[in-house]
Symmetry: C2
Subunit: 108 residues, 2 copies
Amino acid sequence: MAEDQVFAALASPVRRRVLELLLERSPRPVTELAAGFAMARPSFSEHLRVLREAGLVSERRDGRQRLYRLEVQALEEVQDWLHPFERFWRERLAQLGDVLDDLDTEGS
Amino acid sequence: MAEDQVFAALASPVRRRVLELLLERSPRPVTELAAGFAMARPSFSEHLRVLREAGLVSERRDGRQRLYRLEVQALEEVQDWLHPFERFWRERLAQLGDVLDDLDTEGS
DNA sequence: TTGATAGGTAGGGAAATTCCTACGTATAGT
DNA sequence: ACTATACGTAGGAATTTCCCTACCTATCAA
């Protein structure tokens, strides 16, 4: 399943950080993305491959650079999976709100 | 980081499914949760442990059962991480909307 | 107390992940 | 044509993950 690959890709802090970098500016060449990581380049390439195969980024060649672009629609799969749970924590927040209201009422 | 453990826990389809089961009804005993998985019990126990250590579920003992409860606030870490990306796909959707509008305009 | 049920821990093997060094390929500049 | 740059693939070691069987502990029921 595609969802599986997306979640598996997000399991690595390195790969999540790459997506954050691409959120700031996209597309960007590999060297620029790799700059912040204390890691050999082939290791970093491997992370990019995982992101690519999950559909989270796409690659375009430009001269001798390869520009990686954020493909944000893949993250919608995460959002979609998360969505049914959202109701639950809204309830929690509502309850928290009630408690705060109570404290407020008592305090006044 | 706690975020790391949450994302790592969600990387497994089995564990995501467990959370979905707990969304339907929570808390539930282990046997009930394990019913749908073709897996030895100790393997399933291990998945529960990962979920517990990520803070995604909590355990309470009740007689000889252990009731697992969904702890949905741990998923907020995912939501929080995802949030900055949301703007991006809203833009994509807006663009898609424009295209559909254009088609509509041409069609009329 | 004996036996059945619920669910865990211990330990181990296969496979996947994550990192490395060495090397290959393509493009750009001189 | 030569050299440097950008980035990948190949192959391998260490670690982690995911599953197993065997066994232990606690509770309930007869």
